[in-house]
């Protein structure tokens, strides 16, 4: 850090994030003396009110934790119950749940890149302003987001709080015509996703390297989305049932979101951590598109998170939907 300035930044409500958060940053003599991300989203008590409900009701309830990622909660809950009951829903259900999950990654990544993150990198207040200067890029992004929502709805009837997942499988399987229609759209979107990778890589990013621990799921033969072991780049390799042995949740005064530590220290999850740990599981077409950017992974530059999202977005378009 150059200079010895004192800076105080307080953002009472963060814009373009999910949920409610505030940021407080104090810099004294050019060094950060206080940095707090304050999550003031009030507690809703899911941990307690799911008690006493039958499994399929719980699956409908936990979706409401988050409107942007309801599938993640539903898939976690359904797998927990199936493990408890020793129920194996079989390969088709497992594969199609991963497809539904791909729909969530597709819409959430497209939303994140275009509506939340990119305006910052390009100097706009929001996506609507950005659309005046980057109409094609924004249209491409919104189209990919819609495709992701439609892929969720294929299995869940709607994209926010879908109603399709149940213990043992799904409530309903999509028809051949519906599957064929969406398969065509996924293929047609591939060149757009490839262009998106290039676009994210071309943004003028800071070269800000930091040491951090990446944590993600890893699966023996696919890029882990739905299932896998918990791994880190520091040698962690455990089953999810061993979570409590290594991870700890802590309640801090400034935040209603609990903080978590792995072996007593902080760690990173999300697209950058996942790509760092699973890059060799990318399908070859995605790996080629990433290689063309010249940016190598694993990366210790946090600003590569957006590129990692674009890479995962390309990967999920290659998912295979098939009939039982």
């Amino acid at each position: 850090m150059s200079g010895h300035r004192d800076i105080r930044i307080e953002v009472p409500v963060l814009a373009r994030v999910e949920g409610e958060g505030a940021l407080e940053l104090d810099i004294e003599q050019g060094r950060i003396s206080r940095l707090q991300l304050r999550i003031f989203e009030p507690p809703r008590f899911f941990e307690k009110f799911v008690e006493g409900h039958p499994p399929d009701e719980v699956i409908d309830m936990v979706a409401r934790i988050c409107g942007i990622c309801p599938v993640a909660y539903q898939m976690t809950a359904v797998q927990a119950f199936e493990r408890l009951f020793a129920v194996d829903p079989g390969p088709w259900v497992r594969a199609m749940r991963r497809v539904m999950y791909c729909g969530e990654w597709l819409q959430s990544h497209a939303l994140h890149i275009h509506l939340l993150a990119a305006p910052d990198f390009l100097g706009f207040n929001n996506v609507l302003e950005m659309a005046e200067h980057y109409p094609d890029e924004v249209r491409r992004g919104l189209g990919l987001q819609t495709l992701g929502n439609d892929l969720i709805a294929l299995f869940g009837a709607r994209s926010v709080h879908p109603v399709g997942v149940r213990v043992g499988g799904f409530h309903h399987a999509p028809s051949t015509a519906e599957v064929d229609a969406i398969r065509g759209r996924l293929d047609a979107a591939l060149p757009q996703a490839e262009a998106l990778i290039g676009w994210c890589a071309s943004l003028d990013l800071l070269d800000d390297r930091q040491a951090f621990v990446s944590v993600a799921l890893r699966h023996p033969d696919e890029y882990a989305i739905y299932a896998g072991r918990l791994v880190s780049d520091q040698g962690l390799d455990i089953d999810s049932s061993e979570w409590d042995d290594r991870f700890r949740e802590i309640h801090r005064p400034h935040s209603t979101a609990l903080h978590a530590e792995l072996d007593g220290g902080p760690y990173l999850v999300g697209p950058l951590a996942r790509l760092n740990l699973n890059r060799e599981r990318l399908p070859s077409a995605t790996a080629r598109a990433l290689a063309a950017t010249g940016i190598g992974f694993p990366s210790d530059n946090m600003f590569h998170s957006m590129l990692a999202r674009a890479v995962e977005l390309h990967m999920v378009l290659l998912t295979r939907i098939f009939h039982k």
Partner: protein, 258 residues
């Protein structure tokens, strides 16, 4: 043209109802032609205290801070629309209104004293006047756009009050209650979702709130005939919209040990 100003506010929620706008796809880019979005934190625009023509409010009131905020929003808005179950009935989190909220805090949080949390999750209408309530968990895009258009063109909104069964029949769906004896809430739930659950061959779980004239007694008895215990019947009513009066009362009738 002087475009009407709108604001989107969030209280305790999952953000899912705001997605009725953010998931519009290319239509999202048309929105600024219709309205001037002055506050919508998740999308970017930030002017929380601006005076607006229409305020869309998501989420339930859960904290002391929320109470002050919603009053200020009401003062600053000509027309206030509650969007979704959380804002309109208290939503799923209103289940805590029937429990010992302090005990729940202590069970989950190491330091409950850090929290600003009221004992109840309440709808917007419990605190300020609401001009139009949209039901659903989540509301869908066409509900929100129709409400905005009606307001902008000075048309009285047509509130959907009919039960889901009407919509389900109109779509030509096979009744899951009659043919499969599922505990489908369609007969007492407001239409408007497109009969999504019956289309998936499953029971409606009432995320669109109570329809007009809920006959909870009779539907509950029918469920008992399918083998549900009274407590199971109570849970059907006291779910996503447990604090909506018609559902709360129906649930109490079965839940109180009959």
């Amino acid at each position: 043209m002087n475009r009407p100003k709108i604001a989107v506010h969030k209280f305790s929620s999952c953000d899912g109802c705001q997605l009725a706008l953010l998931n519009l796809g290319e239509t999202l880019l048309e929105l600024p032609k219709l309205v001037d979005i002055v506050h919508f934190a998740e999308a970017g625009p930030m002017d929380e205290t601006a005076h607006v023509d229409v305020a869309l409010v998501e989420g339930s009131i859960n904290t002391e801070h929320d109470l002050a905020r919603i009053r200020r929003i009401r003062d600053n808005s000509d027309y206030l629309i509650s969007i979704g179950a959380c804002a309109t009935s208290g939503g799923l989190q209103a289940l805590r209104n029937m429990a010992d909220a302090r005990a729940w805090e202590a069970a989950i949080y190491a330091r409950p004293e850090y929290l600003d949390s009221l004992d109840t999750a309440t709808p917007i209408s419990a605190h300020v006047r609401v001009d139009l309530a949209l039901w659903g968990c989540p509301v869908n895009s066409s509900q929100v756009l129709a409400a905005l258009r009606d307001r902008l063109f000075g048309v009285a909104p047509r509130e959907e009050r009919r039960p889901l069964c009407m919509e389900c029949k109109r779509l030509g769906r096979v009744c899951t209650l009659v043919t499969r004896q599922t505990a489908c809430m369609g007969p007492v739930t407001r239409a408007g979702c497109g009969a999504l659950c019956p289309r998936m061959g499953r029971d409606c779980y009432a995320c669109y709130g109570p329809a007009e004239q809920v006959n909870g007694e009779s539907l509950g008895r029918r469920f008992e005939g399918f083998g549900l215990l009274p407590v199971d019947v109570a849970r059907r009513f006291q779910f996503i919209n447990s604090a909506a009066p018609a559902f709360r009362e129906a649930g109490e009738r079965f839940g109180d040990g009959q």
